[in-house]
């Protein structure tokens, strides 16, 4: 039977050949950019804090000379040297309309396309001009008025100048659309559509009620939500939703980039704005690539498929350490992971019981577990914000915790329900992993901890209804001012975090409110310190950590900066490649 055998061998050989052919010629299309790796100039990469100014420089008429025409879906050819590939998990993208986008990725995209009147630059806590060249704050009996003078050089990607009319229209849209970020205007600012008006084409007047501090609201105005869209263009494409749908695939801003395409779930392509009124960005095209698996993010920056990879896990960062082509940049984020204890549900109605929890946690081991993906913080204001003290009064002390529990009359073996959300905690650890760590710590005091894991949205429902005994979750600031944390964490009447934990202390809330309105930064910081120190022992919280984000950046990339407290957090226009 040699016939069939030999045929079988031929067939097998054919299949193997096909496989080999596949593998053999593959590298042809995959130019793992080893060619670039010769340039190992590591000093190029800045950490967030030491970065330079991000606002467009004064240089007038610096419009791009070789910029591709915008809007063309096919896109002109841009050389790889002038193309930046930015890899990140972008699966939270929902909208690219500045008045709607309120997701981390959305803000990263929007902030590179649109500009607000004022801005914060990385590492600096003072408000700087952007579309507005100056402003003037007047305090009145009913509150305050801010008068903005627009920069006459500022123009949109269409070439048309940015006018007061555009500003009023853009802010009005936020209130009309009433989407996720609208509360910043309606609640934080207490604004209605009548609160702002165009005085002349270069002047906008904003009236704030007494409850809102103008300093604080200026930081709100530096957010991407308050960025300005071109009224004429958006109105022409308004549809039934003020142009929101249209803005997902087109742009109408004045920033350094224009939106070229958004391929859902795949990537966003930004091209340099040919009419940009600031200095033309070095990167003519930015491709924001959606990569969700951590291991794939690492490979992308390792192979050079991506120039920057955002949010590497600890093991990815470790694997990249010492890589000659990639440098690692770490930056604090601004969220806080915390435990909330309901002050009306026993045993946490006793302050001693809450204090015992704070002493039960082993922060050193927590730090080991975080392994660089988070920084231990025990106060409610994150590092990077005004008023952060850096104090960490708590260390694990089981004896003391037991003593406190005894003092509060809490029996050994008392059961506590710890509720956590499904999925990942800030920084990248599984919620369940983190909770398991806390459970084993707290149980050393004799308490018994039951972990209940539910969908994040369901958790929020129950938390809002003040039903949770003990909860672990994160809080992210809404605008770059400490009031964004101080108020919800202290003010029971704001119906936010303090209320959800059934905790009311009007004295501490008063300190926080005064801190928001105090005129100078020094006075504010002093008041926040006072608030923090009382909150440590009287509050219903055990703050755990602040996540730290790691970026993998190819060594030929320079000018990379990241600051979570600013819009857009990441700045493509300062980046260049060698």
């Amino acid at each position: 039977m040699s016939g069939p055998r030999s045929f079988a061998q031929k067939l097998l050989a054919l299949v193997l050949l096909a496989v080999l052919a596949g593998c053999g010629s593959a590298p042809a299309t995959n130019p793992a950019s080893n060619a670039n790796s010769t340039n190992a100039n590591s000093s190029n990469t800045n950490t967030a804090a030491e970065s330079a100014t991000a606002a467009p420089a004064e240089g007038s008429g610096g419009a791009a000379t070789a910029a591709p025409p915008s809007g063309g879906a096919a896109g002109g050819d841009v050389s790889p040297q002038e193309t930046l590939v930015f890899a990140a998990d972008l699966s939270d993208l929902i909208s690219l309309d500045p008045a709607v986008a309120y997701e981390f990725s959305g803000i990263e995209v929007v902030g590179n396309i649109y500009q607000p009147l004022v801005t914060l630059t990385p590492g600096d806590k003072t408000i700087k001009p952007l579309l507005a060249k100056s402003w003037d704050i007047k305090t009145t009996d009913n509150g305050s008025t801010i008068t903005f003078k627009l920069d006459e050089k500022a123009k949109f990607a269409s070439g048309a100048p940015v006018t007061a009319d555009d500003v009023v229209y853009s802010w009005g849209r936020i209130i009309d659309l009433n989407k996720s970020p609208a509360f910043l205007f309606t609640d934080v600012g207490g604004l209605t559509k009548d609160s702002f008006k165009a005085v002349d084409p270069q002047t906008v007047e904003l009236t704030l009620p007494k409850t809102a501090s103008p300093q604080v609201f200026l930081t709100v105005l530096s957010n991407s939500v308050a960025a300005i869209v071109e009224k004429k263009v958006v109105e022409a494409n308004a549809g039934s939703d003020f142009g929101s749908t249209w803005l997902n695939d087109h742009s109408a801003g004045s920033g350094p980039y224009v939106l070229s395409s958004w391929e859902r779930n795949t990537q966003n392509v930004l091209d340099a704005n040919p009419n940009y009124w600031g200095t033309a960005p070095a990167m003519k095209r930015v491709i924001m690539r959606n990569i969700t698996e951590q291991a794939n993010l690492q490979s992308a920056v390792e192979t050079g498929d991506a120039d920057i990879a955002q949010d590497l896990g600890r093991e990815q960062a470790q694997a990249l350490e010492g890589n000659p082509d990639v440098s690692l940049v770490q930056a604090n984020q601004t969220q806080l992971e915390y435990i909330g204890m309901n002050a009306k549900i026993a045993p946490f109605d006793k302050p001693e019981a809450r204090e015992a929890i704070r002493y039960a946690i082993n922060y050193d081991e927590l730090n080991t577990l975080l392994a660089g993906t988070g920084k231990i913080v025990q106060e409610i204001i994150p590092d990077g914000f005004l008023g952060y003290t850096g104090e960490t009064p708590f260390k694990q002390d089981i004896a003391k915790a037991k003593e406190l529990l005894a003092k509060a009359g809490v029996a050994d073996g008392t059961e506590i329900q710890l509720t956590i959300g499904a999925g990942i905690a800030t920084g990248g650890l599984e919620n369940a992993t983190l909770a398991a760590k806390l459970q084993s710590d707290i149980e050393k005091t004799g308490l018994k901890v039951n972990i209940q894991q539910i969908q994040a949205s369901e958790l929020l429902n129950q938390y809002r209804a003040q039903k949770l005994q003990m909860v672990m979750l994160s809080w992210g600031p809404d605008y770059p001012d400490p009031n964004t944390n101080a108020q919800p964490f202290t003010d029971y009447n704001a119906k936010s975090i303090a209320w959800r934990n059934n905790w009311q202390n009007d004295e501490i809330a008063k300190i926080a409110a005064d801190a928001a309105l105090a005129p100078t930064n020094d006075q504010r910081a002093a008041l926040y310190k006072q608030m923090t120190e009382r909150l440590f022992h009287e509050g219903p919280y055990a703050v755990l950590y602040q996540p730290v984000r790691t970026y993998g950046v190819r060594k030929n990339v320079s000018g990379f900066q990241y600051d979570p407290a600013t819009t857009p957090t990441i700045f493509f226009w300062t980046i260049s490649k060698s």
């Binding site: 016939g3 069939p4 055998r5 030999s6 045929f7 079988a8 067939l11 097998l12 054919l14 299949v15 096909a18 593998c23 593959a26 590298p27 299309t29 995959n30 096919a74 896109g75 790889p80 193309t83 590939v85 699966s91 929902i94 909208s95 309120y102 009433n178 989407k179 996720s180 970020p181 609208a182 509360f183 609640d187 749908t245 391929e263 859902r264 779930n265 795949t266 990537q267 491709i287 690539r289 959606n290 990569i291 969700t292 698996e293 291991a295 794939n296 690492q298 490979s299 992308a300 390792e302 192979t303 498929d305 991506a306 969908q455 994040a456 949205s457 369901e458 929020l460 429902n461 809404d478």
Partner: protein, 335 residues
């Protein structure tokens, strides 16, 4: 033939109604308010109510269902709660990627499954047979999400022979949309570079997704070839002095194909489930990932859209298989 197809289509409509009722009933079981979930931490009650109203969630369940069906008949699949776009647009964006991947996986499975099945059958009880059967056993037992991770780790991260996640390199522009399948569209546009790139991107996910089907087809081909090889007509063919190739390919394979076809029909249904896992690992922007993200955020309009589309696949695949029988062996009556 026409009558057969009409019968099947009536059956399909019936299935679709059932599928929509079940998915809808499921959406009513959700303990969480999807509108509140979609709007996040800072949403005020009036915003949530407004969104509920916009989505029609404030209507009684039966009214919601009637509205849904009425819209469906007009080709409207509703609006996704998560992406806030018409589900139809989302499906149009994501479905072709999954079809492309599934077809590629099926091609992989057919080539490897049939070829190795024949090799194993001819080589019965030999080393090649043992290897092929081992391969089939592993294929039916290995979790494909692990296989995907492994292939990526080896061929992309370590060896760098094949490209990483996604359908194209980042710097490549997708071809002008005709079918939404990059390989086909780039060929239609005559763009070789894009075609090659999209093909390379397909290899690992297609191998991962196709492995299970390969195993099934291999097993079926082997056992059905073994049966055929000993039939009289094979002996006759050999006696006529035809070469072994001709005997096996023309007479053997053709007759062995009927049960293999059945397997293809059955595994095609399983491809979609596999696609969910494969797409997650390979960052493939298809229906599976869309379904996962939608289910996580309790976005039932989207989940319903996906299940309706997916529910068409299995009956249609089976119909095609039945028609295939008819062509392989015209004596098989369609019923």
């Amino acid at each position: 033939m026409t009558r057969f197809i009409i019968q099947r289509i009536i059956g399909l409509v019936f299935v679709m109604i059932g599928v929509s009722i079940i998915t809808f009933a499921l959406s009513q079981l959700v303990p969480v308010d999807p509108a509140a979930a979609a709007l996040g931490q800072n949403a005020r009650e009036d915003q949530i109510q407004a969104y509920r109203h916009e989505l029609g969630l404030d209507q009684p369940a039966l009214v919601q269902y009637a509205t849904y069906i009425n819209r469906l008949l007009h080709g409207d699949l509703g609006t996704s709660i998560r992406t806030r776009r018409p589900v139809r647009d989302d499906l149009r964006d994501f479905l072709p990627a999954t079809i492309e991947l599934s077809l590629a996986a099926m091609i992989v499975a057919l080539i490897f499954g049939i070829a190795l099945g024949i090799v194993a059958a001819i080589n019965r009880n030999g080393i090649l047979d043992a290897l092929a059967r081992g391969l089939a056993l592993v294929g039916g037992s290995l979790p494909i999400f692990f296989l995907g991770l492994l292939l990526l780790a080896i061929f992309y991260s370590r060896l760098r022979w094949l490209p990483g996640p996604g359908r194209l390199d980042a710097v490549m522009q997708p071809p002008a949309r005709v079918t939404g399948m990059y390989t086909i569209d780039s060929l239609l546009a005559g763009n070789w570079a894009t075609f090659k790139n999209s093909l390379w991107h397909l290899i690992l996910p297609a191998l991962t997704l196709g492995y299970y089907s390969t195993a099934m087809i291999l097993r079926m081909t082997r056992s059905s070839m073994l049966e055929v090889l000993h039939q009289d007509y094979m002996r006759t063919a050999r006696a006529k002095g035809l070469t072994e190739q001709v005997v096996i390919l023309r007479h053997g394979l053709r007759n062995a194909m009927t049960p293999v076809l059945t397997t293809v029909g059955i595994t095609f249904g399983s491809l979609l489930s596999g696609a969910v896992l494969t797409e997650t690992i390979f960052g493939w922007p298809g229906l599976g990932r869309y379904a996962t993200a939608s289910a996580v955020s309790l976005d039932f309009p989207a989940v319903m859209g996906v299940t309706l589309v997916a529910a068409i696949v299995y009956p249609v695949a089976n119909m095609l298989v039945d028609i295939g029988y008819h062509f392989l062996d015209p004596q098989v009556r369609l019923s």
